[in-house]
Amino acid sequence: MPGKILIRGCGAICAAGPDLKQIITTLFAEPRTPAPSPRLRLELKADHPVFAVNHHILDSGDSDSGLPLTHILARIAAVEALSDAGYDQPGQLKGKKVGVCFGTTVGATLNNEKFYRQLKAGTQPALTPLKTHLKINPADWLAREFSLTGPRLTVTNACTSSADAIAIAADWIKSGLCDLALAGGSDELSRITSTGFASLLITDPNPCRPFDRQRAGLNLGEGAAFVVLEKGEPGNRGSRAVLAGTASCADAWHLTAPHPEGRGLKRALDLVLEGYELSDLAFVHCHGTGTSNNDLTEGLVLREKLPGLPFFSTKRHTGHTLGAAGALAAVITISLLNNHRIPASAGFSQSDPAIAVAPTTRAQSIDAPLALSQSLGFGGNNTVLLFQKSEVGR
């Protein structure tokens, strides 16, 4: 079937802002400082500051409904994405087969601590948390919220979940499984992920410093980001970008660490960039978590595969939003590509001799038509999304 996969609309919410426009503005400002979250009630010796969403911007009605924050954040980002795509009136999608592909980690986990504490204590907890979990599978729930009737999938690929969700949704459309798709991801801060990452000794008690010589780990964050994908011709009015390519490759190496030479990431880049020149690329939005292993691997791969290309991380503004991170990186990449300007890689000040390449240290203009968004995940997943300015045909 003719046509390319267009990004018709984008939406996002995270600590850096309640919508994509504000998030982009924040990226060019002084970064906020993460702080310990009273909501998490962590009893750890060291501080584990996080990037929490400003809860004043959330609908108070939702927060009282028992709906998980992951779902509330997802709805906010999805509404923005659909509106951005021009689908903001009831019934506009009637008759269309619309897929929903939702990446998450916390949102799909049966992890209600209060319920489990009661169960463990031998009391008889109400079944409500269990029933709620069964009823609000993230993709099914989001499809019901917008009355969407197409394939539904909740992707639980850890930190690459929502990047993979976008890639899968594109394949659905290309394969004829749906007409268009709402794809992305959402994750909230939770005690389990916070204590878990602390136990792995990969959180920084200070604001994270991606790619910096002194980097000491990540700061967790929360948020959601979604895109509306649809088949069409580049340059169509209203399209934000072309999804020019996707690739996902496993390291098959280690449960928690990337392959030291970036085996899977290199292959994913080779696949997605086949047929393109380095000069076609404007920048790489890196995963850039601030952990020693992640940044070393990404840096080494970029030095070898894409020498001289500007790259940066935005985790110092957003925190690591886990299942939402890939989609958040994607919508930021699309916006920056269209704005012709990229920010400094916040948190970076000193080059790491082991990496030998440095991210952007100041905001700069860009001109080339393509940009990459990289996601590396727990379990050795490597997913790369390639976006192209919509007005430029290949």
């Binding site: 499984l177 204590t195 727990f378 379990g379």
Partner: protein
């Protein structure tokens, strides 16, 4: 309609396994006792993963949780059956189910509750991440293509096949190892015991389907299997009224999938819920059984399986509505 090629699935089962449920049914064509909605003693079925030692060194199993062991054993059994196939960059991996490694998440909570946040276990946390099982399998079989872990409740089987089909159609991979995995966890046990509609016992297990593109049969490849080793699998993308009665009909409810004998009167059937226990992915075991029938009984060249959606009420509905799986010998 999703179209795929498959072959003999591998199953890691609990209790007495698949065979007792299947034996004799096809030959006699008689229905078994109608036990489907009767409560059973609550000695739930835990699956045995000791065979994993045939494939993996003990020191590598030591840190794997039970969910990953179930998944890895299922994957290894398939890889053993198809040597040198399910490996490398042209192979994709999908692990699907309703709950993922929830028991491991609860084990992690145990470490928090019993010892405090400061002493949370990093090993348990690492295994509690939803895609840990896929990572273990990819590493063991050296699968370096795309890997996907998904949680889609009772619809996990179809969601997994839809993604496998999309990968294959887009030529991202040449074949997909597609596994459905479920384990019993404490919250499910509690919920099952307190659910008035829950029947029988809870179960767990893993079933792995080897998947190829439909055009595999016309391609010449040194690694090709003999044509008669394949089965063509056609799956309806969404629930529809079924015009023909399939040989197996199942319906789902809050705690699993059950055979619905009323929907296919006079046809032979099996009741896997009695043998394996209830679980959201029981429809995958029914599908695997239906596929195996086409190998075990040479007279059968076509069989089918219908999966009724929760909204369907087979007792009251005259029309049979659901997803339909058709299995044919090419």
């Amino acid at each position: 309609m999703i179209e795929l090629l498959t072959s003999k699935p591998s199953m890691v089962t609990a209790g007495a396994g698949i065979e007792p449920a299947c034996s004799g049914d096809l030959k006699t064509g008689k229905e078994k006792d109608d036990k489907f909605y009767r409560r059973q003693p609550r000695d739930h079925f835990k699956a045995d993963t000791s065979r994993l030692l045939d494939f993996v060194k003990p020191r590598h199993i030591r840190r794997l949780d039970h969910f990953s062991q179930l998944a890895l054993l299922g994957a290894c059994l398939t890889a053993e059956h198809f040597p040198d196939c399910f490996t490398g960059p042209r192979c994709g991996l999908i692990i699907a189910g309703a709950y993922g490694p929830a028991a491991t998440t609860f084990a992690f909570l145990d470490s928090l509750i019993d010892h405090g946040d400061q002493l949370a276990s990093p090993t348990i946390f690492a295994n509690s991440v939803n895609n840990a099982a896929a990572a273990h399998i990819a590493r063991h079989l050296n699968i370096t293509g795309p890997t996907l872990s998904l949680n889609q409740g009772h619809n996990s089987l179809n969601a997994a096949f839809a993604c496998a089909a999309a990968w294959l159609v887009q030529r991202r991979v040449d074949l997909v190892l597609c596994g459905l995995v479920e384990e019993i966890n404490q919250a499910l046990l509690y919920g099952f015991d307190h659910c008035p509609h829950a029947a029988g016992r809870l179960g767990e297990g893993a079933v792995f389907f080897p998947i190829w593109r439909p055009d595999r049969l016309i391609r010449k490849s040194p690694a090709s299997l003999e044509p008669d080793a394949y089965r063509r699998l056609m799956i309806s993308e969404e629930p529809r009224v079924l015009s023909e009665r399939p040989r197996l009909v199942t319906c789902n409810h809050d705690f699993g999938v059950e055979l619905c004998p009323q929907a296919s009167p006079g046809l032979p059937f099996v009741n896997l819920a009695d043998s394996l226990g209830q679980m959201p992915i029981l429809n995958a075991f029914y599908l695997a059984t239906a596929i195996n029938w086409t190998y075990d009984y040479p007279g059968i060249t076509e069989t089918g399986l219908a999966y009724l959606q929760l909204e369907s009420s087979p007792e009251s509905e005259k029309e049979l509505t659901g997803l339909h799986y058709s299995i044919t010998t090419p």
